[in-house]
Symmetry: C2
Subunit: 420 residues, 2 copies
């Protein structure tokens, strides 16, 4: 079984590699047509996709999958429309492939052009949301990458139906449908195989929970971009405008607690803690948030739970907020650099010096002054769409759009130059 | 022993991390002063460095280390001067840290600045050349990164003496000397430990032979940039100017056969092979090059050795050149994409269409038209110095200078914005 799966994945990746070469040399308008046709075929095949999804959902319910997972898995006509619209939006994004990033003219007459090119084959390993299938394929086609998708087992029928529609769309646009590959495995061996295929997979992006990300980061021999784990903080400085602070803390925690850019810990300067904490507690508790405080916090809010070391480390992804009082800006920065995941961090302050120190010393992809961490998102940054949010420093940090799905190469034009 | 080494490396990396934070917030002029002092301390401590090197060399000779390795290890007053001059040149390079790469103004009033920042701690694992110690430390300090160096066992005394001088230089410039760390191990466990320290090492760069690179790429859990392996080709198209072709082939093979940007295989279009091959053979053989040909080549040059499949795959790093006749430009591109290592590839042609197809379809960091592959080098590209040549696509391709030793972060300034 395992050997068979591995051979199948290898063959798919090689096929994708060949297709990627055609894609890379294709005109932008042909890829745009491909994306439009992918959208229209998604809609045209809606019934088949919903039927496949129904089988996946039924099986998951029988298997006793937790309710939130089943909810993520469930497709509706509205969700399919949103997926199709997403593809149309991706189609209209400004072209990135072929851009001349820089031209260097050397004294010896060599002209060196640094131009933006696709990676080649991008692998995506993800979990139960079938919409990732369509979004990721769309972003890859737009950036002229072939894609090899390995979704969750429980969503396999849905993903297969979606990929069939997307490939039919490419075919109608006369783009090689082999640019989109779906791995047909039902065990871990295909994912593990993908992690080792340095010859064919140029970039691997895991999308999902911490366990999936960790497994890919630790096992992969192909270049990986680590995404998504966000233990984000809001620090309310002693000079904060408390109304802004309140609105931002509530927004960062409550507007969508299940996502990676939601805040998990509130840090408050001790000088304003007595004024700020009781105020924000009322609002947070009204929104259903459970607070967990450090000893100093408990002296101000005696009726909340006590926080333990584990709380500073945890990405709750839930209506829970850890609260810690700090003696200084420096202590806040230290706490964040110790427990944060280099995702999104915010300071609320009216003091430009404090803002500057925080932005300089906090080591994270996105460092906010007087705004909610929830803005870390490809749409909110104006990238149009995103493949994920990088929490590593190599290649790309923060929201990754189509530009981050490209690399570059140097084209060097000479007239017979040799090196002395 | 192993546990002790691991603890020591962990502690050094943590110390480097702390030092890196100071370095990142330091003015450019302070780092420049640091580099100048590093150069002057290298020269001032020349006697101690040469003495340490003598012990390393003696021990290596006794241990029967191959002659080329001993030669790489050997330091001279001239080599130390070159190292010091290299540091002074690095000091004068244009500043890259803090550069605003892009400013995005969003309709909601958020201002997003993408600014260039150092990685933090860069790990370098390398082999016997002690000059790498000084070059790598210089490039890291210039780009505001702390560095943790793990050189070859046979060069340990030399590296320790060099690092002591460099740290003394930093101290004189009032830069924290802990920014430069040398791992003091004598087995593999320190290198293996470095490959796993995701919390403290932000980027790992192996520099050395194929076995070292492979070991790092396959074992590392921290982000790695693969460098250096170059199985480079020169393709002489049917439309080539044969004088240019001759000069470039000889230069690409002979000017320094031991380096990664030297050519290893010559591909020749069959239409010009009868005119070109005998001509270039005379020149190459006069330079001491041994040729190994495909069957079609042997029909034109019957007295050379026969090439086997292994020859297409081998980076000789020696005065050997594999020769293959191809039926078309497409066959040349296919051969390169099959056997190349994505480093440097050249076409010799007077046909702009062939040049364009070659540059589009060859998947390599640097793709040349009518110039020698030997130009793939940080100095030759105008970067001033290089930490290595990347053969992967993530983050950086080709020569990596100080700019490639940086990442970015997004600084987002608001006035109380929350996400709806």
């Amino acid at each position: 079984m395992t050997a068979h799966v591995e051979l199948a994945v290898e063959s798919q990746a090689r096929t994708a590699k060949e297709a990627s070469r055609q894609l890379a040399s294709m005109e932008a308008r042909d890829r745009i047509l491909g994306l439009r046709m992918m959208a229209s075929e998604l809609l045209r095949n809606q019934a088949a996709i919903l039927e496949a999804n129904r089988l996946d959902v039924d099986e998951s319910l029988e298997a006793g999958l937790p309710q939130p997972l089943v909810k993520r898995l469930l497709l509706t006509p509205e969700k399919i429309s949103i997926m199709a619209e997403g593809l149309l939006e991706i189609a209209e994004l400004p072209e990135v492939v072929g851009e001349v990033i820089e031209t260097i003219r050397r004294p010896n007459g060599l002209v060196i052009r640094k131009i933006r090119v696709p990676f080649g084959v991008v692998g995506i390993i993800y979990e139960s949301r079938p919409n990732v299938t369509s979004d990721a394929a769309g972003l890859c086609i737009k950036s002229a990458n072939a894609v090899i998708l390995r979704g969750g087992k429980e969503a396999f029928r849905s993903n297969r139906a979606i990929v069939e529609a997307l490939r039919a769309g490419l075919r109608k646009a006369r783009v090689n449908p082999e640019c989109i590959q779906l791995v047909a495995d039902h065990d871990r061996s295909a994912a593990l195989k993908m992690m080792t295929m340095r010859d064919t997979i140029d970039l691997l992006i895991p999308r999902g929970g911490p366990a999936l990300i960790k497994s890919v980061v630790e096992n992969a021999k192909v270049p990986v971009i680590e995404t998504g784990v966000g233990n984000c903080h809001v620090y309310v400085d002693k000079s904060a405008d408390l109304d802004k602070a309140e609105a931002i803390v509530v927004n960062a925690k409550c507007s969508n607690p299940a996502v990676c850019n939601a805040a998990e810990t509130l840090l408050v300067h001790r000088e304003i803690a007595p004024a700020f904490l009781p105020k924000v507690k009322r609002l947070l508790e009204a929104a259903g948030v459970q607070l967990r405080g450090c000893p100093a916090t408990l002296r101000i809010l005696p009726d909340i739970e006590k926080a333990t070391e584990a709380d500073w480390e945890t990405e709750y992804l839930d209506l829970i907020l850890a609260v810690k009082i700090v003696n200084s800006l420096e202590e806040a920065i230290d706490h964040i650099n110790t427990y944060g995941t280099k995702h999104s961090e915010a300071i609320i302050t009216e003091d430009p010096r404090a803002a500057n120190l925080f932005q300089t010393f906090v080591d994270a992809a996105c460092v906010y002054v007087n705004a909610s961490t929830r803005f870390t998102d490809g749409y909110e940054f104006g990238f149009g769409a995103e493949i994920g949010i990088s929490t590593q420093k190599l290649h790309a940090r923060g929201p990754m759009g189509i530009r981050e799905l490209t690399t570059y190469k140097y084209l060097v034009d000479g007239t017979g130059q040799v090196r002395h």
